[in-house]
């Protein structure tokens, strides 16, 4: 295959740029972002992608604090907490969002299990909190009414 000199230099340049980008990537060790769970378009699939087949039971020891009515679906304040011992993670799902898994928090030894965040809701939906402790999932859920949807649609 005959390749012009111009093409050759373009290819070399792109190759060099590629190597330069790879070399400059941050060296912090990041936890692997769970792409599959975050891309799941269905609540059940998202939970399975995140937690596999762990048993789920409703519990009054996990608390989902969410408004009854969210005026603005772009910014819905949520606080999640749990009094259970050995909590390893807490995850928030919005059932009717295009991709239900919104966020997941990994708790450490000296963490106190209470986190607040602002999330987006596309429409009135069930918000589900799953707290992982001792290999089991403990659930709390609440419907949040949304007057103006927040997914930018």
């Amino acid at each position: 295959m005959k390749i012009s000199r111009r093409d050759l230099f373009v290819k070399l340049g792109k190759g060099a740029a590629y190597v330069a980008v790879l070399a400059s990537l941050p060296k912090i060790a990041w936890a692997k972002w769970n792409a599959k769970a975050f891309a799941s378009t269905d609540l059940k699939a998202a939970i399975e992608a995140k937690y596999g087949n762990m048993s789920i039971s409703d519990s009054d020891k996990v608390i989902l604090d969410a408004p009854e009515i969210a005026e603005n679906g772009s910014v819905v304040p949520i606080t999640v907490s749990s009094s259970l011992p050995n909590v390893s993670s807490m995850s928030i799902f919005v059932e009717k969002n295009p991709t239900p898994l919104v966020t997941s928090f990994a708790m450490g030894k000296n963490s106190i299990n209470e986190v607040s965040i602002r999330i987006r809701m596309g429409t009135t939906s069930n918000v589900v909190l799953l707290v992982e402790a001792d290999g089991k999932l403990h659930r709390a859920q609440q419907e949040v009414k949304v007057t103006i949807g927040g997914c930018g649609g």
């Binding site: 912090i28 209470e114 997914c151």
Partner: protein
């Protein structure tokens, strides 16, 4: 990516507030020409205290623009807490605060 952290201790409990300046594009919005604006959002946030990760979060596009997170841990005033964040394009931001 700009990250701001504030932390205050009371009775051995540190309450930290983190604000990250980020558009958090969901990948569902269209621009004026009707072309989809690609997804660009924070994917992970990590908080470190005394050399250990005391809290970390994975974010999807469902987290609001300019993510604001509050978390708590056992700690002491005078110590440092640092928070770093990364997004799906590999951009990163980091900030440190002395616990008040």
């Amino acid at each position: 990516m700009k990250v701001k952290v504030k932390a205050k201790e009371k009775d051995g409990v540190v309450k930290a507030k983190v604000l990250i300046k980020h558009a958090m594009e969901t990948g569902r919005r269209k621009d004026k020409k009707g072309v989809i604006i690609p997804a660009h959002h924070v994917t992970e946030v990590k908080a470190e205290y005394k050399g250990a990760t005391i809290f970390s979060a994975e974010f999807g596009a469902g987290v609001s623009k300019d993510p604001f997170v509050k978390f708590q841990f056992k700690g002491k005033a005078g110590d440092q807490v640092s928070v770093s964040a990364t997004d799906n394009k590999g951009q990163t931001g980091k900030s440190e605060a002395t616990i008040k």
